[in-house]
């Protein structure tokens, strides 16, 4: 069935098809539509889930954790300040290995107060032990939502699906909605590996001494590493069943490219358009889309970028005092390549706080890369594009 729906509702449909059992959320722009639609699905009975209204995002995550520990499939959604308020419990749910799924609608953090898109909110939660998957289209959002539950439950790590505020969350696109029975075949009921059970009394999250804490972190790290392969397998299975795959990293027209742009989120679509135009002009330009940010698919990036002369990373975020975060991670991943095959990495800060990213913005990034490539040393680590002088 094809429906024209906004990105937020693509999340809701994915959650419904995944048969989430507990949904706890607190509304915040631009996430509200996600849970609004779900609450109506619960009210009408088409989704047999317990919908819990809570008084804050902190409580939303706490409720999801409780639900998850009983073996239920739990979901929440938030944005920006709401995600920041959840921070402590993101560590609890990540470290507690609870396969919760959350939709995170990228919104800039205050101050100044801003409801528009950028990635600093989700990237600030980089080290909480959550998988992060960035989406480009509404179809990808729906497919990823369903796959996220399977991924989370495969490796016992919570998954954050990330989509840009308004540009994706509130933009309608045709979406192919799979049949419930097909989704049921792909994603059966959750079988929890550890859960609260009155027949087998156990307490979780208790005091862990230095004698064992480090081993528990090692296990978390191993599970994170496993998640890369797990996503690949799940994505392949999705492709076999539904005819679409997304990949942790996607390459677009990179064959023979001397300059490759690295993007995430909706900027990718605009970049595809620019790449097409420049290719038509004979320029050897390509694109790599990073969908999976945690765990970071460094091996994949080394494979697809090895030998490329210049890599331009477009960051809709900034780690103040350092650089764009995707650029930083890409540099670190590519450093392991032999010097002869190691690209030069150019970082660009664009589109913060919802500023439009147009083809002209991306063309400017490409031009600056070409200019810098002829210089011996880049002028600075990251270049801000589209700012007033």
């Amino acid at each position: 069935m094809k429906k024209v729906i906004v990105g937020n509702h693509a999340v809701s449909w994915g959650v419904k098809l995944a048969r989430a059992e507990v949904i706890a959320a607190y509304p915040i722009t631009p996430q509200t539509q996600v849970v609004e639609e779900l609450s109506e699905m619960c009210a009408s009975g088409e989704l047999k889930a317990r919908f819990i209204k809570v008084e804050s995002e902190h409580s939303a995550m706490a409720a999801c954790m409780g639900a998850s520990m009983t073996g239920a499939r739990a979901f929440t959604a938030t944005s920006s300040q709401g995600l920041a308020l959840m921070h402590e419990l993101l560590h609890w749910s990540g470290g507690g290995r609870m396969p919760i799924v959350m939709a995170e609608i990228n919104r800039a953090l205050a101050p100044g107060w801003n409801v528009w898109t950028d990635q600093n909110d989700s990237l600030s939660q980089r080290d909480t032990g959550w998988i992060q998957l960035y989406c480009e289209t509404n179809q990808e959002v729906l497919d990823t939502t369903i796959m996220a539950f399977k991924l989370a439950e495969t490796v016992d790590i919570p998954v954050m699906i990330v989509l840009d505020a308004f540009v994706l969350s509130h933009t309608a696109e045709p979406v192919d909605i799979p049949d419930q029975k097909d989704v049921d075949a792909f994603l059966p009921k959750r079988v929890a590996r550890h859960k609260l059970d009155t027949g087998n009394p156990q307490a979780f999250g208790a005091l862990t001494t230095p004698a064992v804490y480090m081993e528990m972190r090692l296990r978390q790290q191993e599970a994170m590493e496993d998640a890369v392969g797990a996503l690949e397998a799940i994505d392949a299975e999705w492709g076999r069943q539904f005819g679409r795959t997304w990949g942790a990293v996607e390459t677009y027209r990179t064959e023979g490219a001397d300059l490759v742009l690295v993007t995430s989120g909706t900027v990718t679509s605009t970049t595809r358009h620019v790449v097409n135009e420049l290719r038509d002009q004979g320029q050897k330009v390509g694109l790599v889309k990073v969908k999976m940010f945690r765990p970071f698919p460094g091996a994949d990036l080394r494979r697809v970028l090895a030998g490329v002369k210049d890599v331009a990373v477009l960051d809709r975020n900034i780690s103040p005092g350092h650089s764009g975060i995707f650029a930083e991670e890409t540099r670190a991943a590519l450093y392991d390549l032999p010097a002869a095959r190691r690209p030069r990495v150019h970082g660009y800060i664009i589109g913060l706080g919802g500023r439009d990213v147009t083809p002209a913005t991306i063309e400017e990034c490409i031009q600056k890369t070409r200019d810098a490539a002829s210089a011996a040393v880049p002028e600075r680590e990251d270049v801000w594009v589209g700012v007033k002088s």
């Binding site: 073996g71 470290g95 507690g96 290995r97 016992d156 929890a192 590996r193 550890h194 859960k195 059970d197 027949g199 087998n200 009394p201 156990q202 307490a203 979780f204 999250g205 208790a206 005091l207 862990t208 064992v212 081993e215 528990m216 090692l218 296990r219 191993e222």
Partner: protein, 611 residues
Amino acid sequence: MSEGRATVEIAHGVPTIAVSTSSTLPNRTGSWKYIQPVYQDKTAPCNAACPVGIDIEGVMNLLRLDRVEEARELLLRENPMPATAGRICDHACQGSCSRARFDEAVSIHAVERMLGDLPGVTRPAPPRTRKEHVAVVGSGPSGLACGYHLARLGYAVTMFEADPEPGGWLRFGVPEYRLPRPVLVREIERIRAEGVSIQCGVRVGVNLPWEDLSRFDAVFLGSGARARESFEWEDQGLTDVRPGEDFLHEVRAGQRGRTGRRVVIVGGSDTAVDCARTALRLGAEPVVLFAGAREEMTADAEAVEEALREGVRFEFFARVVGMQVSEHADDEQALEAIRGMFDAPEGGATRPRIVGVACVRMQPAQIAVDGSRRTVSIPGSSFVLPADTVLTAVGAEVAGDVLPADLHRRGYVLKVDAFGQTSRPGFFAGGDLVDEPRTLAHALGSGKRAAIGIDRWLRTRAGEAVPALDEPALRYGGSGNMSITRWRGDDPVRRVNELNEVVAFDQLNMAYFRHEPSMPDHHRAPGESGADFGESNLGLSRDEALAEAKRCFNCGVCNDCELCMVYCPDVAIKKHPSGHGFSLSYKYCKGCGLCVEECPRGAMTMTREGL
């Protein structure tokens, strides 16, 4: 390990997540606290507001569990006349009900009426365990209550009633459509069944000398206030201007009740409304004249509402300034024809007749210093209300002439102490003889209070120990009426750390209640009920009344809802082994206060005591 049980796999010598299979018992979180919760049953506002002194909340709580028979017994401990009170009491309880702040008050009167109307259980009168004998003068509600409670305390009781039948004001003053005779008869039978002997046709002080009562160990005076303040225009030889009480008495006694077609009733009391509705049923056209606003009437607001529905006309802010009299009434012929339908007045057409009531319009003046509102007349607003009969309902005074002269008085009423004892030791009084609002509830309450007083006095006289309860401890919430159950010390309800304090609305937690409007009483259609003396208010069915009882918040009293137990993060709360209430382990309670915060009914308190 059973099949399907989740297992935690081990790698690097550790499980996936931090798991503990030992219990939390070694962690005595109780040592953290500097303040702690206690279970503390308190007083519901209805209990404290009831002039009878009924454990209303307790009754509702038993009905919540469908323990109807026990609920009735609990009610009958404090109130011998629930079928009557459920009908005609002005239910101050509902005015204080905290549920009114949430949606609508619980219809307590309808629940009481339902319990009062349940078929009685025949059982032998309680054994006479006391050797003393008490005389009760008057069989109105205060006397009936006093005699009933004394009999249940084991005393022999003889009641003297001047009228041929018992009931006092309930029999002669309340119209049939509000209190059907069979209901009253059943209630009095219930009191008789407790062993109270009622001798009718004996007016103490007239055909039985007061001295003859010296053979009794104590006396309760409950002879009421049948004589009245005079209404200035009654003394002018106008037989058409009459006390409303006399009119009601005539009708209750089976006479037709003399009125003309156009009846003007002066006053804002229950008697005024009863006169109007009775006159309406006799075919007259009643108008009630009241000098103030509708809400200032002392009459029961629902009775006023019913009267309006039936077609009684009210003139508010109107005061009588004179009677218009004619030797030859204008519509003499027509009037005679109508009077023929009723009992024709004696004296024929020659005597002066009322033709109208001269009135003046009033308006509210500013609030007086004492907070009361005064009304003043509007200059030039006089008007005449045509009238054939004027019924006055402006108050009653004590029939002082037949009471022993040595009893100290305060104005029209007898001086009594907190337990109803008059200035003569062994003589107690209640009802309209004492300084209290003249309502059924106050009469029933004063009779009970005097029964406690008599028991206390007789036992003290006999050199026996009496409960060392001070007066506020006997009163619900310290200021309500006394509880005979507290006096007897045999409360069937198990209470935890009872605190005799009223729980306010803001001590309740409304998060746990659903909006659910109150069920209104059933009524006969106005056209139907206004035409005869059949009961007009039909109350609620048993199931409807039970549903009302289940709307009760159970203010201040633990009703085992278990929310404290659910919320306790330290699993420090367990069901009490008795099946009622909870036990709290202070070894583990860390004093977070969640239980107190969540308790929907304010039955828990945080305290520093004991720490």
